[in-house]
């Protein structure tokens, strides 16, 4: 469960990126966060994964107040999240297998466990054949699939995606969206920021619409 309680986020002393947000996202929800450019979508997500702290109010994720925990506890909280970006955020000097297994090796998992978990997810999403390639050898769509595999490999209960299809063609966009639907069916909570019209049409779940830092419908 993710709860925004009267959250305001300011950048500097004048820009209200978010203005008095109250929001509740239940476990298993698949939520689209929409709104024009500059509406505050990315800011909303950043507060969930603790990249930014709210200027006032509180954001809690699974009963943890994200804005006030230590960096160590934040690190452990992020192990329950998978985060996906428009620019993929892959490591360019590691192959696909190492990129996907990165979270597990950071968490100190044993190699056999890492192999088992990653093989399953890579085969589920048809990226197993790419495992020995480097990121620059992949198309944008494939790179984003790899990034999503990395986000899912640790079996997080929350997936956060900030315009994951922003750089993709319609086919890849649909494929990426399907991956999220797959995770949603498995019960993962998903917060998905986008302004992609075709996706908005396809989405069957909940919408949170932002306008100038305020929730206008949810």
């Amino acid at each position: 469960m993710i709860i925004f309680d009267s959250v305001t986020k300011m950048y500097g002393s004048r820009v209200y990126a978010l203005n008095d947000i109250n929001l509740r996202i239940d476990k298993g929800d698949f939520v689209f966060v929409t709104g024009r450019s500059g509406a505050g979508k990315s800011t909303l997500l950043k507060l969930i994964y603790g990249h930014n702290k709210p200027s006032s109010g509180s954001v809690s994720v699974g009963n943890v107040d994200v804005g006030s925990i230590s960096s160590r506890r934040l690190a452990y909280l992020r192990r329950q999240m998978g985060i996906v970006f428009q620019d993929f955020k892959l490591l360019w000097d590691r192959n696909i297998f190492d990129n996907i297994t990165l979270p597990l090796s950071i968490w100190g998992k044993r190699l056999p466990d890492i192999r088992r978990a990653s093989e399953r997810i890579m085969k589920d999403f048809d990226v197993w054949k790419l495992k020995d390639l480097m990121p620059y050898q992949l198309s944008g769509g494939e790179q984003q699939k790899v990034a999503i595999c990395r986000a899912m490999v640790g079996e997080p209960w929350i997936l956060i995606a900030d315009e994951p299809t922003g750089n993709l063609d319609p086919d890849s966009t649909r494929e990426v969206f399907n991956m999220f639907n797959f995770a949603a069916q498995a019960g993962t909570t998903i917060v998905f920021a986008t302004h992609n019209e075709s996706l908005i049409e396809m989405h069957r779940g909940r919408f949170v619409k932002l306008e100038k830092g305020k929730v206008v419908s949810s």
Binding site: R72, A75, R78, D93
Partner: protein
């Protein structure tokens, strides 16, 4: 695991790693050379300062040997020789019998030559003035004074150079580590998003910076000894005797250790500050 990652990290960031090693090596090498120069100049200075010669001529009717014994007991005297003029002439006559005619017309004075250091020379002169049976005292310190002054200026110049160099190398290492941090920022961001703890992120960088610092420092010290040996033999060949006390490799071990320590610290501090700059959470 973390150690393996540190080494991987070094090779992954070859450019900045190499730069750090080179700068550290250069810093260590140049500081050691300058320190050694300063250190050796100090030795030369001490030697010069301790080799002031005072020539004392006994008055008519006084025995030069007795006078020498009296002077030997004075404070500040580090060495003494005396010459009996007629005895010296006899010796010369014997050694060069063919030229005896020259020595029969020649006169050699009796004299006592006193060695002292530059700090005690004034006091010594006062005491000698009080002593009986002396006709003349010759102290020639003017050239010595200016030589020592020049050495001092030179040494201060070296110290200033070391300070300038220190600043330059800190700047260079900071630049090098910033370069590395720029390469790493992407990686660190991703690590954080994947739930890496601060320690997990910091330790490899800290370890690798220590490894790089030590590698650079050791390279610098080796370079220093190598040139020290080469230069040492060259100096000996061209200058012969009097510079033989000038020994580039004579720097005390603790000074080398301090330089090593400082260089490793520079690397670590540079790396750490550059690392802190990658922290982009607000």
């Amino acid at each position: 695991m973390i150690i393996r990652k540190s080494f991987k990290d070094i090779f992954r960031h070859k450019l900045s790693s190499l730069l750090v090693v080179k700068v550290t090596a250069l810093f260590v090498f140049l500081s050691l050379v300058f320190l050694a120069a300063a250190y050796n100049l100090e030795i030369v200075r001490k030697k010069l300062a301790s080799e002031v010669r005072v020539t004392v001529f006994p008055a008519e009717g006084y025995d030069v040997k007795d006078l020498a014994e009296k002077i030997r007991k004075l404070e500040g005297v580090t060495g003494i020789t005396h010459m009996d003029g007629s005895a010296a002439l006899d010796l010369l006559k014997k050694r060069f019998p063919d030229n005896e005619i020259i020595f029969t017309t020649a006169v050699m004075p009796d004299l006592v030559e006193v060695r002292t250091d530059i700090g005690s020379v004034d006091l010594l002169r006062k005491m000698l003035n009080k002593l009986e049976g002396i006709s003349d005292i010759v102290v020639n310190t003017s050239w010595l004074g200016s030589a020592i002054n020049m050495l001092d200026i030179f040494r201060y110049g070296l110290v200033v150079l070391i300070v300038i160099m220190f600043v330059i190398s800190v700047a260079l290492i900071y630049y090098a580590t910033r370069l590395g941090a720029l390469q790493r920022k992407w990686e660190i961001t991703i690590f954080r998003l994947c739930g890496a703890t601060e320690w997990y992120i910091r330790l490899p960088y800290l370890l690798s910076s220590v490894v790089l610092g030590v590698a650079g420092a050791v390279t610098g010290v080796l370079l220093y000894y190598f040139t020290g040996v080469l230069l040492g033999t060259a100096v000996l060949r061209f200058s012969g005797q009097w510079l033989s006390s000038f020994d580039l490799s004579a720097l005390p071990v603790y000074v080398i250790l301090i330089v090593l320590f400082v260089s490793v610290m520079i690397g670590m501090i540079g790396n750490y500050t550059a690392f802190l700059k990658t922290d982009n959470t607000e």
